[in-house]
Assembly symmetry: C2
Homo-oligomer: 184 residues x 2
């Protein structure tokens, strides 16, 4: 990926997380980069193309991260995931799913499919992490691992959103409780 294209995607990612997908325009990217909006259209003919690329980037980064954590015990792996969310939160960003899902109905079909893909990748990984962790006595919890994974991802996602409204302590309180509740 060329330098310009890469910068466009990075800026778009930040804009989606801070302003929302429908609330930012190509001008918000073109001005700080000192290029014209047509230059962005050269790389991403339609805004949905840029959106899909931002999500694909996120899926790739997520897959790289979990691959790096593969040999850690499951409780450490989950702590790493929490740290990823925390890092986003301290920069004022929220997670991609949290910022995209509210505008979901306004998206094109290919972009909707891409959002769904990202959701499945993340939830599947957490489910596996919890299942393995329970089998290895590193986690204790009731019910299906998939259900617990949904609880955790919804906690992380929404606590970032709520932190913007009620203050940054929200995320710390929520993430600490998630990890404590899973202790055997």
């Amino acid at each position: 990926m060329s330098d310009t294209k890469d910068k466009i995607v990075t800026l778009a990612d930040h804009l989606v997380r801070t302003k929302g997908f429908n609330a930012f325009s190509y001008k918000d990217i073109a001005d700080p980069m000192e290029i014209k909006n047509a230059a962005i259209h050269y790389h991403f003919p339609a805004k949905a193309d840029l959106g899909i690329c931002v999500i694909d980037n996120e899926i790739d980064k997520f897959r790289e991260s979990v691959e790096k954590w593969r040999k850690l015990p499951e409780d450490k792996q989950l702590t790493k995931l929490v740290e990823v969310f925390h890092r986003h939160g301290t920069n004022g960003f929220i997670c991609l799913m949290g910022s995209l899902a509210p505008d979901f109905e306004t998206f094109t079909d290919p972009m909707k499919a891409k959002v769904q893909e990202m959701g499945n990748v993340i939830v599947s990984w957490i489910t596996g992490c919890l299942e393995n962790g329970r089998a290895g006595k590193r986690f204790h919890f009731e019910g299906e691992a998939y259900d617990r994974a949904l609880l955790i991802i919804t906690n992380l996602q929404s606590s970032l959103i709520l932190s913007r409204v009620l203050g940054p302590s929200v995320f710390n309180r929520v993430s600490n409780r998630i990890l404590k509740d899973l202790k055997p």
Copy 2:
């Protein structure tokens, strides 16, 4: 409130929950009501005025609901809250906080304050419900009631959002687990 004004607010509420605040326009309200966009500006000079009214409406409805549940045992009160979220979800709507918070940074100061007010009202109520419920042995949980309230509201909020992406079973799985986990 006049009939027209009331219909505008109701439609705006649905549009915020389905498309997001920045993604809907006065035309989306004017066309189905068969009025002109200037008629909406007569009642709500700026879009933020409409947004604030939608939130105020929601706060009022929430206060009326919890007042109605006042004499129920706390576990039943919490079940009622889950039912409110469930009703929204089955109509394809998400909760106001979930749809407004991602666009938070694009709002005017008065509207930001109103979103914060709504967040505080809901979290305070859940905290009180959990505290009283634990004191009366209807709930069992570790840690501070406020932390637990944050976990629950983030679960409910985000599971509605995720239901749109991953299917409606997400909300049912999450809400069932919330209530089971609190059983003494």
